[in-house]
């Protein structure tokens, strides 16, 4: 199967998405923001619709809208404190409302828009792949640079501030990284399943890990296994990759629950 260019691109994209979503997933699960990916992906869907309406590359318009939405969520969180799910709900509904309105305007469901809903890792083009490489390097590099500050913030915001961590800057950084990661993952598994690739490997790793750094490593391993295994199964049995990737990750999660017992 690896002799085909589209399969090679799918695997490269899958590996990049796995590593990036794994690192971010650990942070979001520990910050109790597991549904952030859902909110941002729906906002990104609105951005894709805007792109299709104005004939702009939908990934670029989605990226712009997702970044604006991520900043919006952090601003709302700052205002209403502690109610992360409410802030995410506001952005999720607004993004979806924009998409539905535009779908009405362009009279019908565009095929491209449909592929973003359910993902299409096997039809990634060169531009998408280049964008994925740039975004992955940016996200992975930033998380590695700020990993200590992020861990301090997860522990306690006030302790972090007293030890010189600029918690506001780190919170906004995490939000923007989430927006970039969602755009990366949407191409692979689609808007409806993006939360799964972010949350499930981290949740599975947390059941069996011995430390924070071990959690990062195991999350990456589980994410890679789910993604690569899912793509292979999808090609072999001619099934939709996004569904198989998530089902593989669900199976791994269930196994880790069993192992923890």
């Amino acid at each position: 199967m690896f002799q085909y260019a589209f399969v090679q691109k799918a695997f490269i994209a899958g590996i990049l998405v796995s590593i990036t979503t794994a690192l971010l997933g650990v942070i979001l699960v520990q910050k109790k923001l597991s549904l952030l990916g859902d909110g941002l992906s729906h906002a990104a869907f609105g951005g894709m619709a805007i792109g299709l309406l104005f004939n702009i590359n939908p990934l670029l318009s989605a990226l712009t809208v997702a970044i604006i939405a991520s900043i919006g969520i952090e601003k709302i969180l700052d205002k209403i404190k502690s109610q992360g799910d409410a802030a995410i709900a506001v952005i999720l509904s607004t993004g979806m409302a924009i998409a539905i309105t535009i779908i009405g305007l362009i009279r019908g469901f565009n095929v491209n828009l449909f592929s973003f809903l359910f993902g299409s890792i096997l039809s990634i083009n060169n531009f998408d792949l280049m964008l994925l490489i740039v975004l992955s390097v940016l996200v992975i590099g930033t998380i590695l640079i700020f990993r200590k500050q992020i861990l301090f913030l997860i522990l306690n915001k006030e302790l972090a501030e007293l030890n010189g961590v600029d918690t506001k800057k780190i919170n906004y950084t995490i939000m923007i990284l989430s927006a970039l990661t969602v755009i990366l993952a949407v191409r692979a598994v689609g808007i409806l399943l993006v939360t799964g690739v972010i949350v499930m490997p981290a949740l599975a790793a947390l059941q069996i890990s011995k430390s924070f750094s071990d959690t990062y490593k195991k999350t990456i391993a589980i994410s890679l296994f789910g993604m690569v295994g899912g793509i292979m199964l999808a090609i072999l049995f001619d099934l939709p990759p996004s569904g198989i990737i998530i089902l593989t990750m669900t199976a791994i999660l269930l196994i880790t629950f069993f192992l923890k017992k």
Binding site: V29, Q30, K32, K148, L151, F152, I154, L155, N156, K157, E158, L159, E161, L162, N163, L206, S209, K210, S211, F212, S213, D214, T215
Partner: protein, 234 residues
Amino acid sequence: MSMNSIKVESVSFRYSKESVIENLSFEMKKGDFVGILGPNGSGKTTLIRLLLGFLKPEKGKISIFGKNVFKARELIGYVPQKLDIDRSFPGTVREMLELVKSKSGNEIINLMEINQLFDQKFVELSGGQQQRVITAMSLLKEPEILILDEPSSGIDVKGQTKFNDLLSRLNAEKGVTVLLISHDVNLVSKYAKKALCVNKGHYCFGATKELPKFIKETFGKDYKFYPHYHGDSH
């Protein structure tokens, strides 16, 4: 004359319309051990947040070693009531201690008796062990002042006694100024040299020997307690 470590001058603070602290003044000397006592909602935690610079006084001034609270943050170690994590947090004691730029690692780790806990997950420790790890994190930067917000809550009696004895040693041997928030009158009277009683705008500050008088004045004459004064058992 010993130097003021904390100086609070006529400080007032309110949350929207509700006044929580009114015209509070007190001074702590270097090496003091002060217990802050007061019922829920009396303004104890608000006072700590003002001292740490997380809130700004509406009126009055706070200085720490003569500096503004933001500039003095380097000098303060803080032990919060609880961390923001849940049972799924995978971090080990080692990973947590490595977050702080350490000036005197081993000494603090020995003092807090946590050298055997390095590779254990923080969430798997007992309440008393967790409190000693958080305190060690706060002490690693060698603060002049240690502020603790109800550190004994949720810890068994044995763990509480061990932790409070360590605080006493830290204060006596290292000269660290300690400011301890507590609900427990006995704990404050046994370990602290001075007490600050707080009750929504009513305050008393002075030696723990005067606690019965302070308590009557701030909490009312029906409030009962059986204190051990500082020095009784040490």
